[in-house]
Structures are given as C-alpha cells and as structure tokens.
Symmetry: C2
Subunit: 210 residues, 2 copies
C-alpha cells in the first residue's frame, strides 16, 4: 500500500520501529537497511535522510531499548525512598521483567549488534545513566549495611552481570527442570540477590504475579 503523501511525516521513528521488528525477526545477519525501508514503505535510500549509515540506525534502536530499560528501573525505584533493600530488589525485578516481557528489544540491545558504541553519544549517555542508577542504589545499600563496603561500581557490575547471566539462562531454557519445578521466578531472583546481601531478603518482598 503506497503512501498518500510524498513525505512520510515521521519516518525516523517509523524506521526505528520497523528496524526493531526486522532485527527481531531476521537476526543481526539478516538485518538490512533495504528490508527496513520496505517494511516502512519507503524507497531503499530514504533512511539516509535520517541516519548516516546502517550502524547509526542500529544505534538508535539500541538506544531506544536502553531508554525503556532505564525508565522501568527508575519507575521501580521511585516508590521506595529510604528503603535501599526494596530499591535493590525492585531494580533487579524490573531488569528481569524487561528482559522477559520486552524480550526482542532486550536481545537487540545486548546482542552486540551495535559496534563501536563509543561513536554514538546518545547510547553511551543512556547506558551510563542506567549504570549510575544501579551504583546509586548499591551505595545506599552499603550505607545501610545491606551490602558489603567496597568499590560501588565493582559491586554494581557484579549484580548487573549476575542478573544478565540469569536471564540468559532463563531465555535459553538452560535451567534444569529440578530447579524450575522447585522455585518460582521470584524465589530464584531473591536467591541470586541474597548472595550479595548481608541480611537475608524476605521471601514476600516481591509480588506473586508479574
């Protein structure tokens, strides 16, 4: 179905959306600008009015994903001022929820599809912002004797990396059935976080359903 107007109107964002779909369906190796352009209903060179090259579009898609992740982490923390442990658990829960519910976007964002990240300031900015958010929570927990003293950035990346490994195992179906039958997602997550905390995390700190 050809467009009515010569100008698209919102092609930039349409390309980001179409690009995310193509990337999710075809994978990084099957991803092409021409497919994205066709999916958005424009000619094959139209994207060059909005993106310098293919990597720039991938950067925009990844940046969008990181922004959504940051916002959901931020929203999860917000209700728990002065409750560092709740903040920690809520942040982790938001991360896991994002990975499981927005799985395509999550995979794209962390797939390594974006190369030379440093060339894309918006991506660097939002990724550092998200990381700093975790560092802040970690430092609050350290002050409250919930996490051990020590370099907060190391501790933050430890927790982040742990969660990332966890959701990778989950989404690839690599967790043994004996574990899956015995524990809920919430219980597994609390087990993961409980490794770090100096106090034991209450089992009912998370809502039963997602």
């Amino acid at each position: 179905m050809p467009r009515k107007t010569y100008h698209h109107g919102d092609l930039k964002n349409a390309l980001i959306r179409s690009g995310a779909k193509v990337l999710a369906k075809e994978g990084v190796s099957g991803f092409s600008l021409r497919k994205v352009a066709k999916h958005a209903g424009v000619s094959h060179a139209a994207p060059y009015a909005h993106f310098a090259d293919k990597q720039a579009l991938i950067a925009a898609i990844s940046t969008e994903g990181f922004k959504r992740l940051y916002e959901s982490m931020d929203a999860a923390i917000e209700p728990f001022a002065d409750q560092p442990l709740c903040q920690l658990v809520a942040t982790a829960w938001a991360y896991v929820q994002f990975a499981l519910h927005d799985m395509d976007q999550f995979k794209i964002t962390f797939s390594g599809a974006l190369e030379r990240e440093k060339d894309y300031p918006a991506f660097v900015e939002i990724s550092q912002q998200a990381f700093r958010r975790v560092v802040t929570v970690v430092e609050a927990c350290q002050k409250a004797d919930i996490l051990r003293a020590g370099p907060s950035d190391l501790l933050a990346v430890a927790i982040w990396g742990e969660l990332h490994g966890f959701v990778s195992l989950l989404t690839e179906g690599q967790i043994s059935h004996t574990v899956l039958d015995q524990y809920s997602l919430q219980e597994m997550l609390i087990f993961m976080l409980d490794q770090f905390t100096l106090v034991r995390i209450p089992k009912n700190i998370l809502p039963k359903d997602s």
Copy 2:
C-alpha cells in the same frame, strides 16, 4: 604470493585462523568470507569445501575460542584437588586472564557474532562442558561450606555473569581511576568472589604477577 600446490593441505584450520584475524580487525560487520579467503590465499568460493556457510565458519572460530577457555580453566583447576576454594579462585583467575590476554578471541567468542548457536553441536557441547566445569567447582564449594546451599547452576551462572561483567568493565576502561589506583587486578577479583563466599578469601591466594 600464490601457493605452489593446487590443494592447500590444511585450509580448514587456516580459514579458522584467518577468520579470527579478520574478525578481530574488522569487527562482525566488516567480516566477509571473501576477505578471509583472500587472507588465506585461496579463491572466494574455496571455503565452501569446508564450511556450509558464513555462520558455520563463525561457529568454528567461536568453538575454538571456547575450547581454549575451557582448557585453561581446566588446567587452572587441576593442581588443586580437594581444595575447592583454590579451585574457585583459580577458575575465575583463568577466566580473567583469558579475557585479557586472548582478548580478540574472547571478544569474538562472546560478541554474539554467532547466531542460532543451537545449530552448531560442537559449540553447544564445549560451552556446556565449560559451564558444567564451573558447576562442579561450585558444588564442591557448597559441600565445603564455602558457598551457600542452593541450586548450583544458578550459583554458577551468577559467578560467571559477575566475572563477565567485570572483564567488560575492565576492557572498556570503565572502572574509575580511584578504584584502579587503589586496588590490583587480583584484589578486585577477590573482592568480586568474596561477595559469594561464606569465608573471607586470603589476599595472597593469587600470584602477584600475571
């Protein structure tokens, strides 16, 4: 320089080596079968005698990387029979050393360049073998009350993920100078592992130099 013989003799392994070099130099997006073939001194379609397609060559390169990682982890564990804590630290140290010294291969192996991993049994086999090796060490530590009780595969992926995040931070130069000036690599690693262990890890458990 053209070869003397029509047959190469060991083209398959030569392509794996050339491929790793091209992948390290050009990145995933700049990686092409034709460049690899040229680098190995053969015609552009010669690789198809040894690999079904581009992904199959990438799979072979990634598999080779995982094999090297597994072997160095295995060699690190070997001297410490019945010393679970030493095994844990040595495994982690081997992982970090591999990431820092064999950086190109490490990046390729974990870059996500290989898609649909499940289609490549050799890769699945060696990656699971490496993971099971960590699980074994974790279970030994649990028996010795060095790590908490609980699902050993979750604990293994927690530690693996933590280490992965750690080396990512290291190789991207994202660790603050205040931390870098204050702690050695060994001390940072022990800090990371110390989060998980029920006993404090002796500072001198690792050799001073790499």
